[in-house]
């Protein structure tokens, strides 16, 4: 009997954080200035989820990882040139907007629909991974809704550590306030894990892994189905960005304590 996990990671792109982000009105509603041209990265929380998934799959035999991504197809392709080299996975792509003005309900529906269609996915062994949050679409509810749609009720929404116990059950550490962890036990899959930062660093690029992944990624991109998640019909009366001040400062040879002190000072001012 197969014992490994089938891990599905939901994650898409967000603009590279070094870019200047400026909201503007576009013909199709609010958006970011030059949104389609800004270099993008894998949403950081989803990226943690992907690295954790690959690590878990690598240490549990007979496991497999899928990455389900909803985003503009051409941008996803660019993103894959980097991400595909990090860890082995199979891509399921959906072609649609991935900006800050999509609707989490629609996105969850599209993702769940795509997951249901994955060939050979054993839902009894399914671990549904994603980010607890997103750098650009921060409703913080998407993973919950995808889980609900797939009928998975064991949900952990701020995971930092997932350990598989000897008896096959899962022990999950979730972040809660005050720097504390909530420790939970779960009999086993299926379960939803929306990750905080996890514990793994970004794996270095390995073109060999990339070449292997690309065999399935390119066809997946070509076959990407359109997904209507732009909250069509919705009329944005007014869009306001949170009051935010962004100061970018490049420092060299400054100890961490000093940086921390400066940040506190900045927050106080």
């Amino acid at each position: 009997m197969a014992t490994g996990f089938h891990i599905v990671v939901c994650g898409s792109l967000v603009p590279d954080p070094l870019q200047t982000l400026e909201p503007v009105e576009t013909p199709s509603g609010p958006g970011l200035k030059n949104e389609m041209m800004l270099p993008s990265v894998l949403d950081p929380w989803a990226a943690h989820a992907l690295y954790e998934a690959a690590h878990l799959a690598g240490s549990t035999s007979d496991s497999k990882v899928w990455l389900v991504s909803l985003g503009p197809k051409a941008r996803l392709q660019q993103l894959m040139m980097n991400i595909a080299q990090k860890v082995p996975f199979e891509l399921v792509a959906l072609d649609g907007p991935a900006g800050g003005f999509t609707d989490a309900y629609e996105v969850a529906a599209a993702l769940a629909g795509a997951i249901e269609k994955i060939d050979g996915l054993d839902r009894s062994r399914l671990l549904l991974f994603g980010g607890r949050s997103s750098a650009s679409r921060d409703a913080g509810v998407t993973m919950q809704m995808v889980g609900e749609r797939l009928g998975i009720t064991d949900q952990f929404l701020a995971v930092d550590k997932l350990t598989v116990q000897d008896d096959g059950s899962l022990r999950v550490l979730e972040r809660i306030e005050g720097g504390m962890y909530l420790a939970s036990g779960c009999e086993g899959p299926p379960a939803v894990c929306a990750w905080s930062t996890g514990e793994l660093p970004e794996p270095p690029n390995n073109p060999q892994v990339g070449m292997q992944n690309m065999r399935t990624i390119m066809p997946a991109l070509q076959q990407a189905q359109p997904a209507a998640v732009g909250a069509e019909g919705l009329d944005f009366q007014k869009v306001e960005v949170p009051q935010q001040r962004r100061d970018t400062k490049i420092v060299k040879d400054v100890p961490a304590e000093e940086i921390a002190r400066e940040i506190v000072e900045w927050l106080r001012s």
Partner: protein, 744 residues
């Protein structure tokens, strides 16, 4: 972040700095995901560990330190070491790899040229074996060079390339080898054991190379001519790595002056040997091997300097915009706050020139790399192709090949015609003829490689100085963002190693007169006029006129003599041939830049994520092309005029005085033909004395074809400064990231 505001701009604007999707189209790897991944992978190393080392001051030592050595592992794990290898040896790119290596070097040099050199020098050391090695040599050394496969317990072996020797031996001139190979022991029926004495100078990777490809000459009558030979660190004798070179540049590569005194089996002669009448005859001389190696690796070096120029744009824009922020009188939102030094036209214009040069040199370099990818399969089967077409081996091949240039020229002419206007059957016949294909591509490669090495690095180094000066005092400190001053110095090495500028000029002065190349060049003139019709603002017309002027001048110089009756276009007259080589480079770079613009506009439309930005890129790149074409036109005009007239004797009053009119003669003539006097420049006074100047003005009799072309070219500069103004405006509007994506 500002509040939501409607996008009102109507004219296409350059929105952001060009990203990967733009570059993939321009440099033609949009359908090569292996290369796209390579770029990402190398970039992560360049802007990660490499940049951190530079920022931490690792360049301030000459020695090969632990921390510098750690880069080797970063290269290995990111696939940089194995780019060069075939998949059977652990590589991940199948087929020719010139474009792949070019992209890898470009990405590394975006941050640090020494890192690029160090990573590429391993390939350089292996190249002689790759190009000309015997199957056994290839198998052995490729395998050792490759990263260990799963289950293998070994470390990667690294290589170096040892050609240059202590003075007075090999430098620019590679013929005078001091390194010697002799027979140490030759037992009947056994492989001879050779003794190699070689001293190297400035040999890259020597601090850790496990084996070396060394150039040596025969020091024994039982060995004929020169060869390249593989030396290993464990061979009996001396393998002294030498002391580190006190380089002022590229400190992230390891350079030293090694000494070798080793005994090696004759099977180490690269490409093998035969024995005839008791004499070992290497299958390839060192010259043949280095030619086939350098013609590929020099393109990569040219791209290193291109990367530096393009990498300078963002830090300069950021510095200029922020120059006055935070001052007492600073008012956020004011032009001074927003634009800073970008309010000054000169700062913008100079950056436009830097950017245009960077684009043109990248376009030229990547075009050359792609051409070598096309040529490689033919080149590696060259001997077979020659044999099939009855081309004799050795020196006789040169004459035989010259007699085959006609069908190649015919092919070039047919290829330039639309399908319905040419003899299609003949065209297809020639296209299927491998010799014709080889001759056509080879003629071009023989020009593009030295042109890219020469112009990208030499002119590139000059333009890096411009970039440095745009950063003010900051520009000459270690703290300058983007490592610009280091890059300026580094560019000078790129102009020097693997054959300095003089070598490239020398090669060009021969290869650019090949009629198969000139036929292609001629067709490009027509092509550029056509492009000008479709893209009037691109400078294609300016370029076509400059190309026409250059071609006329070359043909003129090939026949012309100086005032002493001595022919002008001769190998030793570098004062004639070298400037013509320089002028050609400007034209080539500008042409390939325009070709990349066309590619972007045509293919960019197919890329959904570019749809919105494409008009802005198109407009900006059109202006940049125009700026560069005008600069090329100016250079070409200056050089051609000085060569066409510079070797003539100036007329003087004593011998050419009869060409001068006297005042009274003119009065009569003016009555007969009113207005005539306005054409006359030299007039004798009433007392018959000449005006105070060197002699009568030069007349252009016989030079009308030149003066017409020159006049036309001058006129063709129309609009080019407007283009520069447009490009300058774009620099003030383009969005740049908040910070550089590598450390300072």
């Amino acid at each position: 972040m500002s509040a939501v505001k409607p996008e009102t701009a109507k004219t296409p604007q350059l929105a952001t700095l060009p990203g990967d999707d733009v570059r993939q189209i321009m440099w033609r790897f949009a359908d090569r995901y292996d290369l796209q991944m390579l770029v990402q992978s190398v970039r992560a190393v360049a802007r990660g560990p490499v940049a951190r080392l530079v920022a931490e001051g690792a360049r301030n030592t000459h020695e090969w330190t632990e921390e510098k050595n750690s880069l080797l592992e970063a290269y290995d794990s990111a696939g940089i070491t194995s780019v060069f290898l075939e998949p059977e040896y652990g590589g991940f790119i199948a087929g020719p790899k010139n474009l792949a290596l070019a992209l890898a070097a470009f990405e590394l040099a975006w941050v640090d040229g020494g890192a690029a050199t160090g990573a590429m020098a391993g390939h350089l050391g292996l190249s002689p074996i790759h190009e000309k090695g015997t199957p056994e040599q290839k198998d052995e050394y490729m395998r050792r060079f490759s990263p260990p496969q799963p289950g293998e317990d070994r470390t990667i072996e690294r290589s170096a390339f040892a050609l240059t020797e202590p003075i007075p031996y090999v430098g620019v001139d590679t013929g005078v080898l001091g390194g010697k190979v002799s027979v140490k022991e030759w037992k009947e029926g056994e492989e001879p054991i050779l003794h190699v004495e070689k001293r190297g100078r400035f040999i890259t990777n020597m601090a850790f190379a496990n084996f070396v490809s060394a150039a040596v000459d025969s020091g024994d009558e039982r060995i004929k001519g020169s060869c390249m030979i593989i030396l290993e660190e464990n061979d009996p004798g001396i393998y002294d790595r030498g002391t580190a070179t006190k380089k002022l540049v590229h400190q992230l590569s390891a350079t030293s002056d090694p000494v070798f005194s080793l005994d090696v089996p004759a099977s180490r002669i690269i490409g093998g040997y035969t024995v005839k009448d008791g004499v070992i005859i290497p299958n390839y001389s060192h010259g043949e091997i280095i030619d086939s190696v350098f013609r590929r690796t020099r393109v990569t070096v040219g791209l290193m300097t291109a990367a530096k120029l393009l990498s300078a744009v963002e830090p300069v824009v950021r510095y200029h915009r922020g120059r006055f922020r935070g001052g007492e009188s600073d008012q956020p939102g004011s032009p001074r706050h927003q634009l800073g030094l970008q309010q000054k036209q000169d700062a913008l214009h100079r950056l436009v020139d830097i950017w245009a040069t960077g684009e043109a040199s990248a376009s030229l370099g990547f075009a050359a790399a792609r051409l070598f990818d096309e040529l490689d399969p033919l080149d590696h089967r060259r001997e077979e192709i020659f044999e099939a077409h009855d081309i004799p081996a050795g020196r006789k091949a040169i004459r035989a090949l010259a007699s085959r240039s006609e069908p190649a020229i015919e092919y070039v002419r047919l290829a330039a015609k639309p399908e319905d206007e040419r003899d299609q059957a003949r065209f297809q016949e020639l296209e299927a003829n491998e010799l014709v294909q080889y001759l056509t591509k080879n003629a071009l490669a023989d020009v593009l490689c030295p042109a890219c090495k020469l112009w990208n690095t030499g002119h590139g180094a000059n333009m890096m100085r411009e970039a440095v000066s745009l950063m003010g005092g900051y520009g000459i400190t270690e703290d300058c963002p983007g490592f610009l001053p280091q890059k300026w110095m580094d560019a000078q090495l790129e102009a020097t190693y693997e054959g300095p500028e003089a070598v490239q000029r020398r090669q060009l002065s021969v290869t650019m007169t090949n009629e198969v190349f000139l036929a292609q060049f001629e067709e490009w003139i027509t092509e550029m006029r056509h492009v000008a019709g479709l893209r009037p603002g691109s400078g294609a017309c300016t370029l076509a006129s400059a190309m026409d002027l250059w071609l006329w001048t070359l043909r003129h110089l090939l026949e012309a003599k100086d005032a002493h009756g001595v022919p002008l276009y001769k190998g030793h007259r570098q004062g004639v041939t070298f400037p013509m080589a320089d002028a050609l480079c400007w034209l080539l770079a500008s042409r390939y830049q325009i070709m990349d613009l066309i590619e972007l506009e045509e293919k960019g439309a197919e890329n959904a994520s570019l749809a919105e930005a494409l008009p802005g890129y198109g407009a900006f790149y059109t202006d940049l092309c125009h700026v560069q074409a005008a600069a090329a036109g100016g250079e070409v005009a200056r050089i051609c005029s000085s060569l066409v007239f510079g070797y003539n004797r100036h007329p003087c009053w004593t011998t050419d005085g009869d060409r001068v009119y006297s005042d009274s003669e003119l009065t009569v003539l003016e009555n007969v033909m009113p207005g005539l006097c306005s054409c006359i420049v030299d007039v004798l006074d009433e007392d018959g004395s000449p005006p105070v100047k060197r002699g009568p003005c030069v007349r252009f009799d016989g030079y009308e074809p030149f003066t017409l072309r020159r006049g036309k070219l001058d006129g063709c500069l129309t609009g080019s400064r407007m283009a520069k103004d447009n490009a300058a405006l774009a620099l003030t509007q383009v969005t740049i990231p908040e910070a550089l994506d590598y450390p300072l």
